[in-house]
């Protein structure tokens, strides 16, 4: 249904533009005000400054939180991706009783609000005396990172010609060897994409980290604490840095996922 009506066409383009403005406005404001002189972001522009960036690097609280996040997120993403790869492979290749139930159980954590999971995690961890540590955040983040890892890697595995693995077996490889030598290399783009996605999710996660982190806050938890005290433009600066980092990660995911999606017979579908 391509509208031949130019008015309808024009209206559609204007509408697209308006929604894009809505979607991009906070990012634009973040970047813009990270360079503004005044402490209170206002429209009459007062002047350029890099003060907020130097203040940011001098802020011990934020630096500590960033360090915590840079410990938690990569480890959680790595564990989740490894578990996700094994699960995706097993779900893709094998039949077993309870398969459907298992795949639902593995996907469901991403559908449950982190608020509920956070309370539950704290309940279990405090019972086991594992709460309030960096590893508490890692242990719990892995649960919510597994679903997307499985989904992405399974997508990649589905595209693998089935006879490739069978060929390896016929040539004398054990299933273990073919998993390591054939399936794993094939899945690499999916695995890297899944890792980056998991890293981003973990890096951004607030509620669960708030409940289980105790006195070792991650970056979002620390930002939350700072926000409740005062308006602080160095948050704009850290936002700009995070945005740039996620653009780079997003480009990475895009470059890795394009081959996955364009291999499919159907229309390209994003993650």
């Amino acid at each position: 249904m391509k509208p031949t009506n130019w008015q309808l066409n024009l209206a559609s383009w204007i509408y697209l533009g308006l929604i894009y403005i809505f979607l991009m406005l906070p990012i634009f404001a973040l970047v813009l005000f990270s360079f503004e002189d005044s402490r209170f972001p206002k429209l009459p522009w007062t002047g350029w400054t890099l003060n907020w960036y130097s203040e940011l690097f001098a802020n011990d609280q934020l630096r500590l939180a960033l360090t915590n996040s840079l410990i938690v997120s990569p480890i959680a993403a790595t564990i989740a991706t490894m578990l996700g790869f094994l699960a995706a492979y097993a779900l893709d290749r094998f039949e077993f009783p309870g398969k459907k139930l298992l795949s639902v159980t593995l996907i469901v954590p991403i559908l449950i609000p982190p608020l509920i999971l956070g309370v539950g995690f704290l309940g279990l961890l405090s019972r086991l005396n594992l709460q309030g540590q960096l590893y508490s955040i890692i242990l719990t983040h892995v649960v919510i990172l597994i679903p997307s890892a499985i989904a992405l890697i399974a997508l990649r595995l589905q595209q693998m010609p089935k006879d490739l693995e069978a060929a390896a077996w016929n040539l004398g490889a054990t299933p273990w060897q073919s998993l390591y030598r054939v399936v794993l290399p094939w899945s690499i783009p999916g695995i890297i994409g899944a890792w980056l996605l998991a890293f981003t999710f973990s890096f951004d996660e607030f509620v669960i980290a708030w409940f289980v982190s105790g006195f070792s806050p991650t970056l979002p938890v620390s930002i939350y604490t700072m926000m409740s005290s005062s308006l602080n433009p160095s948050l704009n600066a850290i936002g700009t840095i995070i945005f740039l980092a996620s653009v780079i990660i997003l480009l990475g995911v895009e470059l890795l996922l394009v081959p996955i999606f364009s291999n499919r017979q159907t229309k390209p579908v994003d993650s």
């Binding site: 009506n5 929604i19 990012i27 608020l115 309370v119 279990l124 719990t140």
Partner: protein, 304 residues
């Protein structure tokens, strides 16, 4: 098909594969068993514990629930908070659908096909930046001296700043900005895979654009709409950040100044660290969401 059959016929003879299957599945089953299912069971169980001297004491008592139910309409006024949550979540979801559906439609039918991917990527981009920092940015935009108000004042469109920050509209803006990229993705995937020959047929048979939309495209989109609505409701009910950072914890409504239920859960834990009671409140939230899922699946089945 034949290849897969051949493969499964080979499989049973290879003993190592069953070992491989166990080796692949055991880690993830154990992990999710211990760190996902167990916490959920714990959450419901701890709701029945009691607290003595600020320490959770295992047991089985209905104390938490009785206390919560006795405060439904006075003191903590949980019923109001739940009503407020449902109100904000449902209005936000409807707004999000009204905003995102035409966007996905324009994307599918107006933007040339080879640019659609890039256009979609830009629409999803905000999702990848930190949610809490996006909310901070919205704070600088919608506060009384912020970007939006100073722009409108300078243009002379308004005489005094309009209060948006720390109102229910603040909460909605934050939630909309969170939901929009995901809803656009869901609706775009659904619209672009719907059968275009039906639309062409409707046009050829003399239907106007409006009729084609109303009688053909919208019914075709029903599954995607229900899917994204359910998703929007669940996210909005469970979200804490938007209500606290942009809504200011409370929101003025016909019920008076009442916080969202999710905010209540977070704040009660922050103030008291009373885990049994927080768990009981979270269990009530779970029940609320299960009810929504049941209703929406009924919706999806009916009217077929």
């Amino acid at each position: 098909m034949t290849k897969e059959l051949a493969l499964t016929r080979i499989l049973p003879r290879w003993n190592p594969t069953s070992l491989l299957k166990i080796a692949c599945l055991t880690p993830v089953v154990l992990y999710d068993g211990i760190f996902f299912l167990l916490p959920l069971i714990f959450l419901i169980w701890i709701g029945f514990w009691t607290t003595e001297n600020y320490r959770a004491v295992p047991g089985f008592s209905l104390e938490n629930y009785l206390d919560i139910f006795s405060q439904l309409f006075n003191k903590s006024r949980y019923a109001y908070a739940i009503a407020q949550s449902i109100w904000v979540a449902s209005t936000t979801t409807v707004l999000a659908l009204i905003l995102c559906y035409p966007f996905a439609m324009s994307l599918t039918f107006v933007v040339p096909e080879r640019y659609q991917r890039t256009a979609l990527l830009f629409a999803i981009a905000p999702f990848w930046t930190s949610y809490i920092l996006r909310l901070y940015a919205w704070q600088t935009i919608i506060n009384p001296n912020g970007l939006l108000n100073s722009l409108l004042l300078q243009l002379g469109w308004i005489q005094s700043p309009i209060p948006i920050l720390y109102t229910q509209w603040g909460t909605r803006i934050g939630l909309l900005h969170y939901l929009a990229p995901i809803m656009i993705l869901i609706l775009y995937v659904m619209l672009s895979s719907s059968d275009r020959s039906l639309l062409v047929a409707a046009r050829n048979l003399g239907a106007t654009y409006w009729q084609t939309f109303w009688r053909v495209l919208l019914p075709l989109s029903k599954p995607g709409l229900i899917y994204s609505a359910t998703f929007g409701l669940i996210i909005s009910l469970g979200d804490v950040l938007s209500g606290v950072i942009l809504g200011g914890g409370t929101g003025q409504s016909i019920l008076g100044k009442v916080p969202l239920f999710s905010t209540v859960i977070l704040n009660e834990y922050a103030a008291s660290t009373n885990l049994p009671r927080t768990s009981a409140l979270a269990t009530i939230l779970i029940l609320l969401m299960v009810a929504i899922l049941v209703i929406s699946s009924r919706f999806a089945e009916s009217k077929e």
